[in-house]
C-alpha cells in the first residue's frame, strides 16, 4: 500500500447503527468501514479517487450507553424533490420537525478512538492531471491542517469526529483492555454497492489483537 494513510479519529460519542436495529438504534461495537470512508471523504475526495479501508484499530474500551433522542418519523419524498426541481420552487420542500417528532432510544458508544488504515485508488474518471502522488499530498496537507469539506462524524451527524493525521511511525497508545482485544463481531456492513441496485455488502468482522481487518470490496469474503 504505497498510498496508505493513517488517520487518528476520536470523539465523545459514536453510533454506528446496525441495520437490524436502526429504528431504536443500537451501535455496532466498532466503527464500520463505510463510516470510516465517510470520514476520509469529508477531508478529501474527488471523483478521480476511490477510498478503500484496510483496517480499523480500536484504541479505547468498548463502552455503551443508552440515551433518548428526538428524531423524526418521515422524510421528504423523492417525488416532491423532483417536482420542486421541475417547478424551480422549493416552498413545499420542508419538514417541520416539531410536527413529526418521535422520541427514540439509542444505545451508542461513548468515548471512542480509532486509527483508520486506508488507501485510495484512481478511478476511470481520473484525468491526465490526476496522479496518486497529487491526491496523497492533497489529503495529507488537508488532514494535517485540519481542513475538511464538512465536519466528519462518528456514524451520525450529532457526534462529530476529531481527527489527526498520523505521520510515519507515529501511533497513539491503545487503551483497549485485553479481554476486548479479540472478539467476533458478527456480520458487519462493509459498504453499499451503488452500481448494483444499491446492494448491501457484508463481511464477517472480528477484532484480532484490537484490529479489525477489512477485506477489499471485490474479495471472496464479501457477501451480498
Amino acid at each position: 500500500m504505497a498510498y496508505g494513510v493513517k488517520l487518528h479519529v476520536w470523539g465523545d460519542r459514536a453510533c454506528f447503527t446496525r441495520p437490524e436495529m436502526k429504528v431504536e438504534r443500537v451501535s455496532y461495537d466498532v466503527m464500520t468501514p463505510s463510516a470510516a470512508r465517510g470520514i476520509l471523504e469529508a477531508i478529501h475526495w474527488k471523483p478521480a479517487i476511490r477510498w478503500a479501508i484496510d483496517a480499523i484499530e480500536v484504541l479505547k474500551p468498548i463502552r455503551f450507553q443508552s440515551i433518548r433522542r428526538n428524531e423524526v418519523g418521515s422524510r421528504v419524498p423523492t417525488a416532491a424533490v423532483r417536482k420542486a426541481m421541475k417547478a424551480g420552487a422549493v416552498e413545499d420542500l420542508r419538514m417541520v420537525a416539531e410536527e413529526n417528532r418521535q422520541q427514540r432510544a439509542a444505545t451508542l458508544l461513548v468515548d471512542v478512538a480509532y486509527v483508520i488504515h486506508a488507501h485510495f485508488e484512481l478511478t476511470e474518471r481520473a484525468g491526465p492531471g490526476d496522479s496518486e502522488a497529487k491526491h496523497l499530498s492533497m489529503f495529507n496537507r488537508r488532514a494535517a491542517s485540519g481542513q475538511c469539506f464538512q465536519q466528519p462524524c462518528l456514524g451520525v451527524r450529532e457526534f462529530p469526529a476529531n481527527f489527526a493525521l498520523l505521520e510515519d511511525g507515529a501511533a497513539p497508545v491503545s487503551e483497549l483492555p485485553l479481554d476486548q482485544r479479540d472478539r467476533d463481531l458478527g456480520w458487519m456492513l462493509l459498504d453499499i454497492d451503488h452500481a448494483n441496485d444499491m446492494t448491501s455488502l457484508f463481511f464477517r468482522a472480528a477484532l484480532r489483537d484490537g484490529v479489525m481487518a477489512v477485506p477489499p470490496l471485490n474479495s471472496v469474503e464479501v457477501r451480498s
Partner: protein, 602 residues
Amino acid sequence: MTVLAALNGYYDRLADRGEVPPFGYSTERIAHIIVLSPEGETVEILPWQSLSGKKAEPRPTAVPQSFKRPGTTPRSFFLWDNGKFVLGLGVDKVTRQRVAHPANHAAFQELHRRLLAGTEDAGLAALLRFLDGWSADRFDACGFTDAMLDQNFMFMLDGDRNDRGEPRFLHDRPAARRIWERAVAEGAGGEGICLVTGTRQPIARLHPAIKGVMDAQSSGASIVSFNNDAFTSYGKEQGLNAPVSEAAAFGYGAALNALLARGSGNRLVIGDATTVFWADASGGEESAQRAEVLFHDLLSPPPAEDADEAQAIRNALLPVSQGRPVREIAPELDERTRFYVLGLSPNIARLSVRFWLEDSFAAIAERVGRHWEDLRIDPAPWRTAPAVWMLLRETAPLGKTENIAPQLAGEVMRAILTGGRYPRSLLAAVITRMRAGDPVNGVKAAICRACLNRDSRLGTKKTEEIPVSLNRDEANPAYRLGRLFAVLEGAQRAALGDVNASIRDRYFGAASATPASVFPMLLRNSNHHLAVLRKGDKPRLGGWFEGEIGQILGGLDSGFPRSLRIEDQGRFAIGYYHQRYSGKAAASTDRPGATEQTVSED
C-alpha cells in the same frame, strides 16, 4: 456475537430439548378442539386446557405460525383461528351480543379452499366439508357456546391418535404439514445474504412479534421493524433494510419468546427493562441451566421466608460477594460457559435494546460480587444480598416501580454487569428522594456508597474509599456533617420525644446541600435540647451527646461549608446513616434498614 445470532443459537439449544416449535410453527394458546367426523359433521367440542396453573387456561400448542394482522382486510391462520374466522361469529365487547363476521369467515374459507384444493387426506377433506356445511344457525345445535367465541379453535378428526396415543390434530397430519411447508416457502421474499448466518436464503419481510416484554403491546412488539419511511435506506423496503433469512428470523423470535414466556426462569423485570439471559451449551446442557439459575439468584436473590432460609441463601451467595471464583459456588459449573444478557424496553410497537452483554459466566459473577462489595454498609440493611429492583425502588417517588426514571434500570444493569460506573442519575435520584423527605435508610446510604466508591476506583481522581461502618476519624467534612446532623437529631429526640416535625423532617435537605445556612441555627437549638437532658433524668445521655458533638466539630477544620456538591451530599447521607444506626443507637427502637423482602419482582 450479535444479539440475533446469539438468540438464533439459543433456538438450536431449545430445539434440542424439544421446547420450541419447528420452523413455520408457533406456540399459541388454543382453547377448544372441534372434533369432525369424516363427513364434516361436528361430533363434539372438546376443551383444551392446561391444568398446571391455578385455573384452567387455554393450552399452549404448536400450530402453523401466526402473523401480525394489521389493516382492515382479514387474513386467516391455517387450520386454527378464533371464532370470528372459524365460525364467522364473535361477541361484541360492549353489548355482549353475538355478531356475525362474514368477512373473516370468508377469509378462512378462501385460504383453506385454496390450500387444501384437491386434497385426498381424510382429515383435510373433512374440514372442507365442514366449511361447506357450516352456517351460523347450526351454532347451538353443534354444542358451541358464546363464551367460546373469543378463543382459538383447532380441528381434529374423530378418533385420530398419534403413535403415542395422544390426540392428533389436523395440522399435525403429514398431508397438512406438507401443504404448510409449501405455503411457507412460497410466501418468502427474494433471496439475499442473511446477516445472522451469512448464507443466501429467502429474506424475511416482516419479523416475528415478541411477546412478554413488560408494558409493550400485548399482541407483541418487534425488534426489527421499519414502519416509517424515515427508517428505510436506499429505497429498500421492510425487511430488506436488514436482511435476515426467514429461518433465522423465526429462530430468534421463537427463542426470545420462549425466554420471555410466563414462568420462564430466564427473565427478570427490573424497572422498565425486561431482562432475559441464557447460557450457551458449550459446557453441556446441565452446566448451562445451572448457570442460568445462579444468575437469576445473583440479581434477584430469592425472598427468604425465615431466618434459617435467609442464612442458607446468604451462605450460598457469600463467596460471590467476597469475590471468590465461581467454582467455589457451583463446582459443577463450567467457568468458560458463555453467558448472554439482553435488556429490552418497549417503545410503543417496537422494542429497544437497552443493553446487550456477552461474557464468560465467571466474569459476570465476579462483577456482581464487586457490585455487592461496593454496596456493603454497616449495619446491613438487608438479610440476603439486595435485588436490583429493590435498589431501583429507592429512587422512585412513593417507592413505586412505575415511577423509576426511564432508562435508569437499563443503565444500572449495564453498570453492574460490566463493572463500569453507575449512572450519575442514580446518585442524583437517591439524593433527591432523601431531600424530598423519604427516610434515609440503609439501602439509600448503600447506593450512595456504591456510586462514590466506584467513581473513585474507576475515575481519574482517586479518593479514599468510603468506610463500610462508622469511622469516627474520617476527616471528610461532608461525612462529619452527616454524623453531626444525626447526633443533633438524636439529642432532639432524647429531649423532646416524638415531635410533629423533627429537625430531620425539616432540615435534612438544607443541611446536606447548604450546611452553613442551617448548622449554626441547629447547634443553637441543640443547646436547649441538651439543657433539657441535663436538667431532666438523663444527664449522662446529655453528656454523651455533648461529647459526640465536640468530637465531630473538633475534626472540622474550616467551619461549615457554604454548599456541598452532589457527591458530598452522598457522603453526608452515609455519615448520617452510620452515626444514626451504628453501635448504641442501633439498639434503639426503629430500624428502618431491615427492608421488607416480601414484594416479588414480577
